[in-house]
């Protein structure tokens, strides 16, 4: 037992004297957090559009004004003809072209219905669908305005959004990014560290001592576990100060879950270190594996949108569960009862992963 203390103490000294590692823990994650949170958004703002008004009536101009006022669009130009608009679409300078037909007002007055053509540049990304839905809403809102006071039968629909009333994308992304950072620290640093010891030969020296592999692993992982939790704290502070992320649930609960999650992340790092021989391999393999986990975690894009088999596969992805829990606690104010299922998975993973990693570690080569 004392052995763990002595080795862990030495590890802490190593860490404190390792400037590269301190940079990896303090600087890189903060930079990543700042850039990621600002860049990773699907919000639609200032989408450049062209309008082609073939009607030129007050009604059609009203529609264009509504589009401009919505805040989502930036009218780059109003072309009198379709050709110019198409050019712009082809050249990629606009995302959407709105074409109002020449009988717009007349149709509305006569039949109450009129079409408006929306041509979207779908190459720009998933934003095309979102742009379309925003545009449709503007159209629908304008139509409602034009409608008489009471149309019957009428259904009065009220909408309410839960958990992210300001529709702030960063509030959605930051908890997930924190998870990613903590994972990187936990897995990459562990894998790198032990692979380095292997490469330098310092591991051998420890293998000749009577220290058991259990003691060795605990002493090795403990400092990184603490670092991971420190990382989470740092991330939360930055998230609060810079992005004002919500913290509706219990932060201690989050840390409790994080403690278990880190055990999984560290275990994976340990497992990776056992199957590589050099630092370089450790870095490549870790990067490769973490990449897979992150993409399938629902961090960037919702799990519900994933193909069915990926969704099923992600059930065994610990990152996914921690992302779910982090969002549930921070944004939804969820308590222990609501996160039981994903937490249980994390707890089981921790046991399994650590057991496998410990078993895999051999002091004596066969």
């Amino acid at each position: 037992m004392r052995r763990i203390f002595f080795l862990a103490e030495a590890e802490v000294l190593h860490i404190l004297r390792d400037r590269v590692l301190l940079a990896q823990v303090l600087i890189v994650p903060v930079v990543q957090l700042l850039i990621l949170s600002n860049a990773a958004t699907f919000e639609i703002r200032n989408t450049p559009i062209y309008t082609v008004d073939l009607d030129r009536t007050s009604v059609s101009r009203g529609l264009i004004n509504h589009l401009a006022a919505s805040g989502h669009f930036q009218i780059v130009g109003t072309a009198p003809s379709l050709d110019r608009a198409n050019e712009a679409l082809l050249a990629g300078t606009v995302t959407m072209v709105v074409v109002i037909p020449h009988d717009f007002e007349v149709s509305l007055r006569r039949t109450g219905v009129a079409p408006v053509e929306l041509s979207l540049n779908a190459e720009k990304g998933s934003s095309a669908g979102i742009v379309q839905s925003y545009a449709s809403r503007v159209l629908a809102a304008y139509a409602t305005e034009l409608s008489p006071m009471r149309a019957s039968p009428s259904i009065d629909v009220r909408v309410r959004g839960r958990y992210n009333p300001t529709l702030n994308y960063r509030h959605y992304m930051v908890p997930g990014i924190l998870v990613a950072l903590v994972t990187m620290i936990g897995t990459l640093l562990t894998a790198q560290n032990i692979a380095r010891e292997k490469e330098l030969g310092t591991l051998e020296q420890l293998n000749v001592t009577p220290i058991t592999r259990g003691q060795f692993i605990v002493a090795k992982l403990l400092p990184f576990w603490v670092l991971g939790l420190l990382e989470l704290s740092l991330g939360l502070i930055v998230g609060k100060l810079v992005f004002d992320i919500p913290m509706r649930g219990s932060v201690p609960l989050l840390f409790g879950v994080a403690s278990v999650y880190l055990a999984v992340a560290l275990g994976i790092g340990l497992w990776i270190s056992a199957m590589v021989e050099t630092q370089q391999q450790a870095m490549f393999v870790t990067f490769f594996i973490i990449n897979i986990y992150l993409l399938m975690s629902g961090l960037f894009t919702p799990i519900d949108s994933m193909a069915p088999w990926v969704r099923v596969a992600s059930e065994v992805n610990p990152v996914r569960h921690f992302v779910t829990i982090a969002r549930a606690i921070l944004m939804k104010g969820a308590g222990p009862a609501e996160i039981v299922r994903p937490f249980l998975f994390l707890a089981i993973s921790a046991v399994v992963v650590l057991t496998i990693a410990v078993r895999q570690y051999r002091k004596r080569a066969v």
Binding site: L7, L200, R364
Partner: protein, 264 residues
């Protein structure tokens, strides 16, 4: 029985079709300074790794400090010390911190650690640099310190793998003084080296050639037996025919790309 510290009988290690250590048999008595000589690739490092519990033997038997290397390798580790050639001390820790770490791992009390630290540093004249990182110390001092650290827990046997490589002759001499001190205190020393002049310092030596023991005995006896004036000559005579052999993958010179490759 207790005056045999190390014994091996037909100890063998193969890697696939390659035999690194080929049925070697020898004994080392308690308190002896035993020199384990051989060319790079002859198999001496592999043999040592089997004795200290880093590598499992393929066949044959061996006992170290009275324990069987197959079934009691962890017990062996409590009774031995080791100084590897590639690494001895953590460079970013101070001598004091290094001693404390290993002392703690071997179960010494804080009191004991403190006492031995002071004693060790005084003996080596390192009291002045006790709190400077090891990386700032010259190689010779590091090696001497590493040796002392390997003995911090008073092991019965200490294994040294090429401890004087790259060190100047004066330091080498000082190092051997330390070895003699340990031996006269009752510690058995098994040291591998390819400096043939150091062979003369040992009580007995063995010379490994192509995985086998080509010669074993006291330096004086061997010189007489083979009719040579120096161990160097003896070594050349034994080693020449085996020159064409594939290098021992357990050799201490690491492949920079695959450092812990133990397979050829």
């Amino acid at each position: 029985m207790t005056d045999i510290a190390i014994e091996a009988k037909d100890l063998t290690r193969t890697f696939g079709s390659f035999t690194a250590v080929d049925h070697i048999s020898f004994e080392v008595r308690t308190g002896e300074v035993f020199g384990f000589l051989g060319a790079n690739g002859a198999g001496k490092t592999t043999a040592m790794r089997m004795l200290i519990g880093l590598l499992a033997p393929s066949s044959g038997t061996a006992r170290v400090a009275g324990h069987d290397v197959y079934t009691e390798s962890e017990a062996i580790k409590r009774s031995i010390g080791y100084m590897s050639q590639r690494f001895s001390l953590y460079e970013d820790l101070t001598p004091r911190e290094n001693i404390r770490l290993y002392g703690g791992i071997y179960g010494l009390t804080r009191q004991q650690i403190r006492e031995r630290t002071d004693r060790m540093l005084a003996r080596l004249g390192l009291a002045g640099v006790a709190d400077e990182q090891v990386r700032s110390l010259p190689l010779g001092w590091r090696q001497k310190l590493a040796f002392s650290v390997a003995l911090v827990h008073d092991p019965r046997i200490v294994f040294l793998d090429e401890p004087t490589s790259g060190v100047d002759p004066i330091t080498r001499r000082q190092f051997w003084e330390l070895i003699y001190e340990a031996a006269s205190a009752g510690t058995t020393v098994l040291v591998t080296t390819h400096y043939m002049d150091e062979a003369e310092y040992c009580d007995r030596i063995s010379i490994m050639v192509a995985g086998r023991i080509g010669a074993i005995g006291t330096p004086a006896d061997l010189k007489k037996q083979f009719g040579v004036d120096s161990i160097d000559e003896l070594f050349v005579r034994l080693a020449r025919p085996a020159e064409k052999r594939i290098p021992d993958p357990g050799s201490p010179i690491p492949d920079p790309y695959f450092p812990s490759d133990t397979k050829p």
